[in-house]
Subunit: 238 residues, 2 copies
């Protein structure tokens, strides 16, 4: 009787383990299908735009069935929202952190982030551009929730630049509004990427960054008053 | 016999006139259908993008028949090309001339042109944006001829700014590359319009223009050396 129970218990454990394994497999399968759908959509939206991308093409690229798409993303817009959320999550590990790990000067960190966009343009021979900027111009007027997510993404980007400017606050003139200046850096990045795509050459992007660098140099010259002023209670070494 | 000839001649004249009138009517009808198609497409592409706009919708808005569309524009891309050519033609009379008529200072003309974009954003509650910028980000990678026309349009815009900078050359530091600075003004305009659309408020556009103004102020301060230098052979009035 006891032995029987143990056997039953073992059997039920085995069964549970089997169930768990199946559930885990199912779960991992689901996760990867969902991820594959997001990745395929991310690539296609970036390559050819949202409206020009058909559901059939996403399914083909993701190697997924219509049922699984509609299970995870009832509408095409839901899939775009997941793509935009993934960009928000990737901002720090993919765009900001690699630069911050390499560069310590806060002003150079800003130009390091801009250089990341230059590399991306170079790698793609000035195609694709900034995925958020593309979506803003294509859908901001017709998809309010999408527009909001793009704005959230922009805000995250701008805040990273703001942080750098805060760290360099003592080198900038007091008149500088650091939130405005960070917003301007985003403006220059997006406008520069757009022109690089229009002319299909890095030159207008490089020109934009060089002009921004000139502006920063003039701000830093103006902010760094210590080189032109004698400290009030200066103590000479001897 | 002569009388007969005169009657015949008059008849033929009348007939010719009739033909001419019919031809003229036909011509004017054709021209206006073509124009209506371009105008409808221009509005729809600007409102909702190129890929999201269907041929049926363009025909409905233009009050035109499929035959007339395919007569003038065998493909949707041909229609877009006509739209882009119309923007190139409208650049001077619609964007540049009204500002140049009102403002004479070359630097203020640049900010007058930027203010035109502000008005457009204000009138549309920060929707629509710059039609060329929208098309660049949507189609540059997939429609090479469209991309080239957008670049031509950008070049025309930049050259107008370049002309202003040339007129103010003696007020700018010699180190300034006026072609680069003009390209930077376009970068700031496009990036500012994009952010205004993303946040659906004028603020980021205004911030971008203010920062650009600050940059110009610093350049002009630097360029205007007469206020800080004493001319070598200065003659005092008394």
């Amino acid at each position: 009787m006891v032995e029987n129970s143990i056997v039953q218990f073992e059997r039920s454990l085995k069964f549970e383990r089997l169930l768990n394994r199946q559930y885990a497999m199912k779960l991992s399968e689901s996760t990867s299908t969902r991820d594959r759908l997001i990745e395929a959509a991310r690539d296609l939206f970036l390559q050819q735009g949202y409206s020009a991308t058909g559901i059939a093409q996403i399914l083909r690229e993701a190697n997924a069935k219509p049922g699984s798409l509609y299970h995870f993303f009832p509408t095409k817009e839901d899939l775009l929202i997941a793509v935009l959320e993934s960009y928000t999550q990737l901002l720090w590990p993919l765009v900001i952190k690699p630069v911050f790990d390499r560069v310590s000067d806060p002003i150079e960190r800003i130009f390091g982030i801009l250089d990341g966009y230059r590399r991306m343009l170079q790698l793609t021979t000035c195609t694709k551009g900034c995925p958020i900027g593309n979506i803003v111009l294509e859908l901001a007027d017709t998809h309010p929730h999408v527009r909001e997510l793009c704005a959230t993404n922009f805000t995250g980007w701008r805040k990273a630049i703001e942080g750098c400017l805060d760290d360099a606050a003592n080198r900038l003139p007091q008149s500088v509004d650091r939130i405005d200046l960070a917003s301007f850096v985003l403006t220059v990045m997006e406008g520069g990427v757009m022109q690089a795509r229009a002319y299909q050459t890095l030159e207008p992007f490089d020109v934009a960054v060089l002009q921004l660098r000139d502006y920063f140099d003039r701000l830093l010259d103006d902010g760094t008053t210590w080189s032109t002023q004698t400290p009030p209670n200066r103590i000479d070494p001897e």
